[in-house]
Structure formats: C-alpha cells, structure tokens
C-alpha cells in the first residue's frame, strides 16, 4: 500500500543519485582529457560538452557571457544558485529521503545524510586550487557507498523496485545523452581534420565518461571506434550501463510493482516491452543507417516511458 507520493520520492531519489554519478564522472573525464587532447581540439568544446551533458547550456549562458574553466565547473558542481548543480541535486536527494525515511533502512538514511554534510564542506576555493577531481571523486565514491548500502539493507519490495526504476531510467537517459553529446562534439570538428586518431580519441573518452572503457576493451579486444562504442553502450546485454541492459532491468522491476497485470497498449509496461523487443533484434548497422536520428528517437522513447510511469503510478 505505497502512497503515490512515496513512490514518486523513491523514484526521483533513484534518478537523482544516478544523475549526479554521471555528471561527476563526465566532468572528471572531460577535465582529465584536457591534458591528453590533441592540439586540434579546443578546451572550450570540452566545457560546452559538459554543459550539454548536464542539459544546462541555456541556464549557464543566461548568467555568464563566456566559457571559462572555473565558472563552468563551479556552475555544475557547487553553485547554490544553479538548481541543477550537483550540490543542489544532493540537497533534493536528502530532502526526498527525509520524507520517506520509513521506506529506507536506517543505515541508508544515515549514509545519505552523511554524504550531504560532507559534500557541503567543499568550497569554491578548493575547486579553483585543485580542480574538480577531489569533489567528483568524493561524489562517485559516496554514490557507490549509497548503492552498496541500499543493496545490502533495503527489503526487495516495491520501495526497492521504485528506486531501481529511477536508477535504470536515468542511466539509460544519461548514456543516450552522452552519445548525442559526443556525436555533436565530433560534428563540430572539420571533417578534413577528423583522422582515425582523433575519432578514436573521442570514442575512448566517451567510453571513459560512461565508465565503460575497460569493459569494452575486454569485450572487443580492440580499441574503441564508433561502431563498437555505440553497440557497447546501447545494445550490449551484459554491460550494466548499456541502455538495453537497463531497460530490461527496468521492465523486471515494473513487473514487481505492478503485480504482473496484463499490459494494455496505453501502459508503461507495454511501451517498455515494445521498445525492448525492438532493440533486442537491432544490429549496430541498423543504427548506423539511421544515424543520430536513432539516438534522438531513443531519447524521446525514454521520456515517454518516464511520463507514462509518472502518470500511471506516481500522480498525487
């Protein structure tokens, strides 16, 4: 007998935890790659890419007229005036968790609470002096701890499934967005200058941003390129960050929540099942034929799933 409001809190807690993990990793990966970048690349592209990843380019442009490393990184991480900074997402995660404390284990609440307080100890000066590495690493470590504690302590009931649905959906969305962003980055480069080395560099950087570089090398035994990158992140059924992997997990959690009701065409279960069925027999060549349009359509499908889920279960 879970309240719709509780379900919504749990769902968004999952989404935001996943979101800050991706943001932190992406910022770090981009920042580190500034050192490796071949001369052809502009650092500004990297900063633009970070903002695009966080989907906050407009908001940043409204407040600042130029890109500069300190202001972009501060904006994305600690800026209290930016409602989409990691700091503010963390605040929301904690508020949400406070409202649903009874559905979380005590350890999980305490872990979230401690994370919130420790993250608040980072200052703008730290960022300027040392770069974003410490803060982002702190975020990544703590998100892992939270997921581990949740894994170990939360009952495998509807509460658990709601959080996982949030995580799965967010992950799929973030991975898709990373791919879109990367393709945009690549498209900004002059085609003549796009050597295999530069292209390879981008795909390696992308896989690192998604936390999948090592695993993809393990899987393919070769260095990354566009086909392998896209296939690994979208279609691979063993890699826990791939879109298809997450969609399938999402589907099984939905079943847990919905008591295996028969899914009629206007339900989120139906939409999810249909998308999974389509992707299970898709090849990377099919995707390459469609090009970027495939990714935009995928993003739309994911939005639709999120919308339908909220409408069906989380209205209050």
């Amino acid at each position: 007998m879970m309240l719709a409001r509780t379900g919504s809190n749990l769902f968004w807690t999952g989404r935001y935890i996943e979101r800050i993990e991706h943001l932190a990793r992406y910022i770090n990966a981009q920042y580190l790659s500034f050192a490796d970048a071949p001369r052809a690349l502009d650092k500004n592209l990297g900063l633009e890419s970070m903002l695009s990843m966080a989907d906050t380019s407009e908001e940043f442009k409204a407040k600042h007229d130029q890109y500069n490393e300190e202001s972009v990184i501060h904006f994305l991480t600690l800026d209290e005036q930016n409602p989409y900074s990691i700091r503010n997402y963390l605040s929301t995660i904690r508020e949400n968790a406070r409202g649903i404390r009874d559905n979380l284990s005590t350890e999980l609440w305490e872990t979230i609470n401690r994370f919130y307080h420790s993250a608040n100890e980072f200052t703008e000066e730290d960022l300027i002096r040392k770069g974003p590495y410490d803060f982002c690493k702190h975020v990544l470590n703590n998100v892992n701890i939270i997921k581990g504690v949740a894994d170990n302590t939360v009952l495998r009931n509807e509460s658990w499934s709601m959080i996982r649905v949030g995580i799965n959906l967010e992950r799929s969305t973030q991975i898709t967005q990373i791919l879109i962003t990367k393709l945009e980055d690549i498209s900004k480069i002059d085609y003549e200058k796009l050597s295999p080395a530069i292209s390879g560099y981008h795909w390696a950087s992308l896989l690192r941003s998604a936390g999948g570089f090592d695993m993809s090398r393990h899987y393919y035994h070769e260095s990354p390129n566009r086909e392998r990158g896209i296939e690994f992140l979208i279609l691979n059924q063993q890699f826990p960050k791939s879109v298809l992997f997450n969609l399938k997990e999402l589907q099984s959690h939905l079943l847990n929540i919905s008591f295996h009701k028969f899914a009629s065409p206007d339900t989120v279960e139906f939409t999810t099942g249909k998308l999974i069925a389509y992707m299970e027999y898709l090849t990377v060549d099919d995707i390459m034929e469609e090009g970027e349009i495939f990714l935009y359509k995928l993003k739309e499908h994911l939005f639709k799933i999120g919308d339908e889920l909220e409408r069906q279960y989380l209205q209050y």
Binding site: A4, E158, Q315
Partner: protein, 490 residues
C-alpha cells in the same frame, strides 16, 4: 577516590523542603516505601557511572531524533531535545487505581456531554451548563450538529493533566481533548530507562506502557464505519515541518498504519480515498493530527492545504470516521472545565472520583470580585491558550503588575479564569548545573483511549518536571523536562 564516590553521598545532601510535599521523601525525612529499592540502587551507583548513564539516556533520545520546537526563544522554533531525568517517578498501585478510574469516569462523562450539546442539548435546557458558554466557544463546531459519530465517541484520545497537591490528593489541572501529544516521550523514556537501568527495572514489577500503540490501533478499528471487515486506518500529519512530526511517524510505524498528508487523500463519491501507486484506496478511519480549522477547506479555513476538501460531509454521511472528531475543543475549554464535576453528576449520576482545582470564572460577577480581591494568591489563566503561555502568577507579581493585569481581566472577562496557587508536589531531580539532586515541581500527563468496549489508560504517563527552581509551569513547550513514570503492579 573521587571516581568511586557514590551517589549516596549526593543523595544524602538532598535539600528537602519541609513546606512542600515530596514524592520520594516523607515529612520525617525517610524514603517512602515504594521508592525503597530504587533509592538503594541509585545510592550505590558511582557518581561517574550515573553521569555516564545520564549521557547514554540522553543520546538514546537524540539518536531517535526526539526533539520538538520551543517557541519563546529568540530564534523561531529552536529544536530541542526534551530533557530526561533518570530517576523515575513512582506511583503505588492503589494511588494509580484511583487515577485510572477517575480518568475513565471523566472521559465517559465528556463523551456524553459532547453528544448532548451537539444533539438534544438537554444539559443546556436544564441550565446545568450555560448555553452562552458553549455557543460562544470558538471550538463549538456547527458542522457537528445533529450527528452522532460511531458509538457516540467523540474523544477517542485524551490527555488529562494531573497534579498532586500538598494535601496528598490528585487534582485534574486540565483535559486535552483535541490532539494531545507527548505519548512518544512516554514510550521512548521507558526504552531509555530499560536500557540504562535494566536490572533495577526488571526487579521492580512495573506495569508496561508499550501496549499503547496496539490499543490505539484497536480503538481505530473499533470505530470504523458500519459493515467494514478490515478497516483501512491512516494517520494524517501536517508534514515533516510540523514540530510533532517525529511523534506522528513514530506512532504510525508502531501502529502499522500508513502516514499520510492532506495531499495524499481526496474525496470522491462521498468516500475518502488515498492515492497509492496502484490507484485510489478507500480510507475508513483517519487518526488526524491536524487541527479542526485546517481539516476541510470547503467548510473551515479555506486556505488550508493540510486537510481534505469535502471531508466533513463524508464524516457526517458515516463513510469515514475521524479520531478525535472535530468540535471536541469546546469541552477542554478552561471555562467549561469548571463545570466538569456537574457534567459527571448529570450524565453518570456519580460523584467525581478526581477533583477539579477550585476555579473562578471572571465572567461571573461574584467570582470576578473574589479574583480582584485575592489576585496576589491566585494564578490567572486565559481560557483559550495552551502551552502555559499568558499565565499570570499572583504571588510573583509586583503591585503594579497586579494592578495592570486587573484592568486586562476586566476588559475581557470571558477570557480569564483564576485558580488558587496549588502547591505542586516535588521530586528529586538531578540538576546538571549544581551536580546535585534537588527537589523540582512535577505534574503528570496521562494518556487514555476510548473505543467500542475499550476504556484504557496508559499505566504511567509523562511526569513533567519544571527544571527551573521553584517554577510551577511544567509544559514541554516552555522548556521543562520529563521522567519515566512507573506504576507498580499490586
């Protein structure tokens, strides 16, 4: 060695005040028999151990997040832990029996009273209680007229405040019939005591208090609308920013009922539903911790978002029940309090078991005269404020203050009542600042439940301690403390 110094030495220096009735020590200086074992136990504790235990008990409260907001600090709503004193207050079984019977009698009479004043109004026509007093009360709820809630019960949960006066008798200070709070402290104090004094506790035959949530759950189910097999009960809270939120979520968890806010509920088809992830689920009983004025914006305060629009009509249609029902505040008004002994006689044909404190109502001419002549030895209180605010204590006031307050009373006579300054009993309490046990005034808030065939009084309650020396006002929102209260099996 300093560390081995025993508590006994400290206790021997206890500054007994022979003018006050002391719960622990009689007027010859001897420890009262029912405190014997506890006193012996405390005596041989090392002072260091005792201080550690005190810290441990405090931390137990802190960890559980038992705090509340105090309102008179300069910063609005400072969160404080309700201080807890380890030395328990003990009530012998025979004394308790009188308290219990007296409270049950009072609750019975008050429920009859509420039923009457909202329906036939016999007691008003018989002029036992003046009709103006009732109809002019801000809490008389016209939407409760011509309607009888399930089993005629209006007050399911009540908090009766008692004091023990210098004559050794218990007196009722006031009834709290709307949303009495504090039972979570009773339960957590007991947990703290069991953790810190386990041996002593189990040796003494203390009546349990832990059954309160279970009995409350039974009460809710017993007053569910007609024809419901498995009642769906919820606890309606204003939300996590409310000062008593901890208690709401604690009770909901203990009782196994869903905690909800106004926005989780709605009225459709003349029933109340809650919004779950699987769709609307009908609600049968609502234990509401939202004040009357905020529970239905279509009928009461229309800006309230804490309630459920349309709720009152559903209540009257008998399709949902509210615990406590709206409109009970008319009976815990301090002016109506003075009529409670008459109310008991009128409906039950019995003499009151527990006495009221003598009360003078300033709106009555002869009472007003007495009050004005004797202000220096009276306590004057506004009838409609809670939490101990707005109270005037005659023997503490200067001539000028007395004279000013007389004018205030004369301008708003219906608002004030006066009572003799009662000599509240005192209890040995550990005072951190002086590191000694000292006598402090105490009172007792009891918690009782009324359901269909259920009349229950929680065996113990909250003994509230006024932590400032000589202070008589022991309410929690003014910075008092508490003790675990033991009732012995006898």
């Amino acid at each position: 060695m300093e560390q081995d110094k025993k508590l006994g030495e400290m206790l021997e220096k206890y500054p007994r005040n022979p003018q006050l009735l002391d719960e622990v020590v009689d007027d010859t200086g001897r420890i009262r028999p029912h405190y014997g074992e506890v006193y012996e136990h405390f005596k041989q504790l090392r002072i260091k151990d005792f201080e550690d235990l005190n810290e441990y008990a405090k931390r137990s409260s802190f960890d559980q997040g038992i705090t509340f907001n105090v309102y008179s600090d300069k910063e609005r709503g400072v969160e404080r832990i309700f201080p807890f004193d380890l030395f328990p207050r003990i009530i012998p079984g025979k004394e308790w029996d009188i308290i219990e019977q007296g409270i049950i009698q009072r609750n019975r009479a008050l429920n009859f009273f509420l039923r009457d004043i909202y329906n036939e109004k016999h007691i008003l026509k018989d002029k036992v209680v003046p009709k103006e007093l009732i109809f002019s009360s801000a809490h008389y709820c016209k939407h409760m007229m011509d309607f009888v809630p399930k089993k005629g019960i209006y007050v399911h949960i009540s908090g009766t405040d008692l004091i023990k006066h210098a004559d050794g008798k218990y007196y009722v200070l006031e009834d709290n019939l709307r949303c009495p709070s504090g039972v979570s402290y009773v339960l957590s104090n007991r947990v703290a005591t069991k953790k810190t004094l386990p041996n002593l506790f189990y040796k003494s035959d203390v009546q349990p208090v832990v059954d309160y949530p279970e009995v409350l759950s039974e009460v809710l189910t017993s007053v569910a609308p007609q024809g419901i097999d498995e009642a769906v009960c919820v606890l309606l809270t204003p939300g996590m920013y409310n000062s008593a939120y901890y208690e709401h979520s604690f009770l909901a968890l203990q009782m196994g009922v869903q905690l909800v806010e106004g926005r989780d509920l709605f009225v459709d088809n003349n029933f109340v539903y809650m919004k779950t992830i699987h769709g609307p689920k009908k609600v049968d009983v609502i234990y509401r911790r939202v004040d009357d004025d905020f529970i239905d914006p279509l009928v009461f305060n229309k800006d309230s978002v804490l309630g459920v629009p349309g709720l009152m009509n559903v209540l009257r249609a008998g399709n949902v029940n509210l615990v406590n029902t709206p409109g009970t505040g008319v009976a815990d008004d301090k002016a109506v309090y003075t009529y409670v002994p008459d109310i008991i006689r009128y409906y039950l044909d019995e003499e009151p078991i527990l006495s009221n404190v003598d009360t003078y109502r300033c709106e009555k001419d002869d009472d007003l005269q007495y009050v004005l002549e004797n202000m220096h030895q009276l306590v004057v209180k506004p009838v409609d404020e809670s939490g101990g605010y707005g109270i005037f204590i005659g023997n503490r006031a200067s001539r000028e203050e007395i004279s000013n307050f007389k004018e205030v009373i004369k301008s708003q006579r219906r608002k004030y009542i006066a009572q003799p300054i009662m000599s509240l009993s005192v209890h040995a309490t550990y005072i951190e600042d002086s590191q000694l046990f000292e006598p402090r005034h105490i009172d007792l808030r009891t918690f009782s439940l009324t359901g269909d065939n259920i009349e229950y009084v929680c065996k113990g309650g909250l003994t509230r301690v006024a932590l400032r020396k000589g202070n008589l006002i022991v309410n929690s929102s003014q910075g008092g403390g508490s003790k675990d209260t033991w009732v012995f099996q006898e």
